[in-house]
């Protein structure tokens, strides 16, 4: 079974995998689906088996701001920590590539934390790594200018997909960085002149992966 919990989460113990399969419900969602909105109550923890989910923050004026992506083998840190007293979500979660997820009722969290060592470790590690990721996001917006942030953004994307082509329109990039399309176009053009990228319709090819880092 390609997308089994056992394969995607190899560190989970066998009992844990069984428990998950007994208590969780596997579901599919199409790209574009919004799985969670700011202010909604969280009732489930989500384990990603397939596809990609975007976690972002929404401003009052409707602006977006990308926090990070969730991919197979990962889980939504926010949803994991909201313990028994199902808290309100502080973020938006949108499916960007058709996903298969395992939904697990929040009530089971505390119980599993005590009973399953591998679950405990997974939760702690998830939280730690997301915290770090968010700190890095803060760094980027606090200390860097838009051109650096754009480079960083492209690099993250190409790292994630493992290829050097980023298939996004300027508008999409602008939205995730909470800036305007014109700014992105301008900066990309400058990067092209510096020989860092090659621009095509709906696609940006990174020529020199080791720029800012």
């Amino acid at each position: 079974m390609q997308n089994s919990v056992k394969n995607i989460f190899p560190n989970f113990s066998n009992e844990l995998v069984s428990t998950i399969e007994e208590n969780g419900s596997q579901q599919n969602f199409e790209a574009g689906t919004i799985l969670m909105r700011t202010g909604q109550y969280i009732k489930n923890t989500v384990l990603i088996l397939k596809g990609k989910i975007k976690i972002y923050r929404e401003g009052e004026d409707g602006g977006e701001f990308l926090m990070y992506y969730l991919q197979p083998g990962q889980a939504c840190a926010i949803s994991m920590i909201c313990t028994a007293k199902s808290e309100k979500s502080q973020i938006m979660a949108k499916v960007v590539e058709d996903v298969t997820v395992m939904m697990i009722p929040l009530q089971l969290m505390d119980k599993w934390m005590m009973e399953h060592r591998s679950w405990y470790e997974f939760v702690i590690e998830t939280y730690r790594s997301r915290f770090e990721e968010v700190l890095e996001v803060v760094d980027n917006i606090a200390f860097r200018s838009m051109d650096e942030r754009l480079e960083f953004y492209l690099k993250r994307h190409s790292d994630a997909c493992g290829c050097s082509e980023v298939k996004l329109s300027h508008q999409e990039i602008a939205t995730e960085l909470n800036t305007s399309r014109e700014v992105v176009s301008r900066l990309l053009k400058k990067m092209e002149q510096r020989g860092l990228v090659k621009l095509n319709r709906n696609q940006i090819e990174l020529l020199n992966t080791n720029f800012t880092n």
Copy 2:
């Protein structure tokens, strides 16, 4: 005993309090001490009994950026989560008001999580609330302009100290918001003209607490 663990952390069980007092070491640090630097290894979890610690991010160019403050009854989320494999710190921690802290070896974390329900709940809650706080910080820098951020900053400060006077120089504020002193002076002046604050040397008096919120 005024600054006892029992008083400052009322939710801890009696056994937990004893265990903490047995295994932790109580220490004092003066204002100005840097307790943790970016890149250092974390070997202890820190519970704050008295005083105030500033948690901030440092940019490559030396710029600062305030994340949040730690006060009595709180603990450093970062240090709590770095489990057994003592991780590197991603942040800076500086004492801003003389502190008394309880240092607890990291090795005990996992053990206590399993053995002490009240410790488990404390850790989870600490992590949850810090995550939210950092998300709010992201919001501020991603979606708001400097004048709004300044208002928010002042409000946080007056909330924290419970009084309407913020005793900080423009330079200190500028540093924490990673901007320049002149910008802060100018914006404060505008706020004064709008009747929101009264400016004095090393002190800003908030006149109208309910501005942006």
